[in-house]
């Protein structure tokens, strides 16, 4: 299987491509001889050169979508281009909120299958998927005709520069989709957080149900601050409303690969493990000796987070 032309769905909120986008462009460059980026927004010209630095030779822009959710218009625009004869061999999508919407819509629109949750893709087109929290690997491949749609998990590939001149920006016209595109964004809310970004921080300190109550999350934030890291959370305490969703590490939250991950009062549901088992080093603190998190921890402390964390924080403060 050789891929000649590979498209990458390039997300660029606030006119800046995500690191996820660069990971996919890097992979696409290794797979195919031509890499094109598909994107949208009012400021595509402002970041097209960034996409070029990572290998895109052409940028297809669906333009300013206004208050529409991207799923329907971007998928419809891609489908129209493909039906018009611009057929890529493969399309790499980020397994993100909008990436999943666009890939799903495009798949149904063109009657093409989609392989999801990829963690690797080999030269012969065989994809690799981690299931059961990463304990099991499934390999799969497409058997029909391209284009092949791949939804990739974040941090599956390194982001390395290696492109040429600024790519040409061409319009990707959005056809009329009628009632399909009736959902409208009325207001956008940004939940502010300080310090390094969760998915880029070298140290992540994450808290779970074992913290006992919402106010104890302050311990997580303080430890993260002392280690110049980012605080994170398990799904249980996000669902309980203790911290905003932006803190969530796991299958439906962020995937992190820090140098050190410190799991505090987190038992280690598969849902959570799939988002953090790529960390270089894992430290776990949990009362329950049988908690699954200990099976992947380099250092496991069987103990009460309410005792261990304050002492750890005091000891770190006295060092500085």
């Amino acid at each position: 299987m050789t891929f000649d032309n590979v498209w990458v769905l390039a997300e660029a909120p606030e006119a800046k491509p995500t690191s996820f986008t660069y990971e996919l462009l890097t992979k696409a460059r290794q797979m195919g001889s031509t890499v094109e980026a598909v994107t949208w927004g009012a400021d595509v010209d402002a970041y097209a050169a960034d996409l070029g630095r990572f290998g895109a030779t052409r940028v297809r822009s669906a333009g300013d979508l206004g208050d529409a959710l991207p799923g329907v218009p971007v998928a419809a625009a891609m489908a129209a281009a493909i039906q018009g004869g611009d057929r890529p061999d493969a399309i790499l999508f980020p397994q993100s909120y909008d990436g999943r919407d666009i890939a799903g819509r495009l798949s149904a629109r063109l009657d093409l299958g989609v392989l999801t949750n990829l963690v690797d893709l080999s030269d012969d087109g065989t994809s690799e998927h981690a299931i059961f929290g990463g304990s099991t690997i499934v390999r799969a491949r497409f058997t029909g005709d391209p284009p092949y749609l791949f939804l990739v998990r974040p941090k599956s590939f390194a982001a390395l520069e290696g492109g040429g001149a600024s790519p040409e920006v061409v319009a990707l016209p959005v056809p009329d989709t009628g009632p399909l595109n009736a959902a409208v964004i009325k207001q956008r809310h940004v939940e502010a957080r300080s310090g390094p970004k969760l998915d880029e921080a070298p140290v992540v300190v994450a808290g779970g149900r074992g913290l006992g109550e919402a106010s104890n999350f302050e311990l997580i934030e303080e430890l993260a601050r002392l280690l110049r890291g980012a605080p994170g959370a398990s799904r249980a305490i996000v669902d309980a409303g203790w911290v905003p969703y932006a803190y969530q590490v796991g299958q439906t939250g962020k995937t992190v690969k820090p140098t050190v991950y410190i799991a505090c009062g987190i038992s280690g549901a598969t849902q959570h493990m799939v988002g953090m088992k790529g960390a270089k080093h894992i430290i776990a603190i949990n009362k329950d000796r049988e908690a699954p998190i200990f099976s992947i921890a380099d250092l496991g402390v069987v103990g009460d987070v309410h005792r261990v964390l304050p002492r750890l924080i005091e000891a770190l403060k006295s060092r500085s």
Binding site: G104, V138, D239, G300, V308, L316
Partner: protein, 255 residues
């Protein structure tokens, strides 16, 4: 107001079965259960129908061997009835095939709203609901953490990378819900008893008029255990475990 909830019956995640590397499949044992992540959609649907002052919650599901035990759980929570598509030719169905089957079953009802989980707990492809929406020609809003409905419009707080968006969408529509959207009720004894006599309509691919139109363009080539991380040292905290953590952080040059 009539709401369809797409639900999946899955092997108990606590006992997911074992791998058969020869057949490249999972050998599943025991009864299927209602996917935990679907309980939120069922609960949301029941509350929306209540708030609207009447209507029905219909479950739509696809499962092998006419499996109904998971559906009974959702019926016991209060759903009115269920459509179950079961057919040997659906073995190994991919997300798009599943979506075609669910969409065809949903077409037999006339819902104002279709709810689904953002992703299943066992397969988590997370694309099936939008594929259903596209096939039905409906708008969709994914990742809802809050839903309100006034009969003609659904208002959703949709999770985003940065926080959340307030999204408005006319009905009918497809909405996927996260685990944060509502707290699911436990089935009552009365509900469990009532569920036994509720209708579960069994359908085949032929019943749905899909014979000959389903083809799966992908295959599993290999199923294997991942290279596991090794567990490291485990210490019991005797009042000084924080020293061990500091030593490790020091060695890793984090501090």
């Amino acid at each position: 107001m009539n709401v369809v909830v797409c639900v999946k019956q899955i092997p108990d995640p606590a006992n997911p079965g074992r791998l058969d590397p020869e057949a490249k499949t999972l050998v599943r044992q025991g009864k299927l259960i209602l996917d935990d992540s679907d309980a939120y959609g069922v609960e949301m649907a029941l509350q929306l129908v209540d708030a609207a002052g009447g209507g029905e919650v219909t479950l739509v599901s696809m499962a092998p061997h006419n499996e109904v035990s998971g559906l009974r759980t959702a019926l016991a929570m209060g759903a009115s009835k269920a459509l179950l598509v079961s057919d040997d030719q659906l073995q190994g169905a991919d997300a798009l095939t599943t979506a075609k089957v669910l969409a065809a079953a949903i077409r037999r009802t006339d819902p104002d709203l279709v709810l689904a989980a953002t992703e299943s707990t066992d397969g988590y492809t997370g694309t099936t609901p939008v594929q259903v929406a596209e096939l039905l020609g409906l708008p969709s809003v994914t990742f809802a953490k809050r839903i309100e409905c006034d009969g003609s419009t659904v208002r959703v707080e949709r999770q985003t990378e940065a926080g959340f968006d307030e999204v408005e969408c006319p009905l009918p529509a497809v909405v996927t819900v996260t685990a944060g959207v509502v707290e699911p009720r436990y089935p009552s004894f009365k509900g469990i008893m009532a569920a036994k006599s509720k209708s579960v309509e069994q359908l085949t691919v032929a019943d749905l008029g899909l014979d000959g139109s389903l083809r799966v363009g992908q295959e599993v080539t290999d199923v294997a255990a991942a290279q596991e991380r090794q567990a490291g040292e485990i210490v019991q905290d005797e009042g000084n475990a924080h020293d061990r953590i500091i030593q490790l952080l020091d060695r890793l040059k984090v501090i």
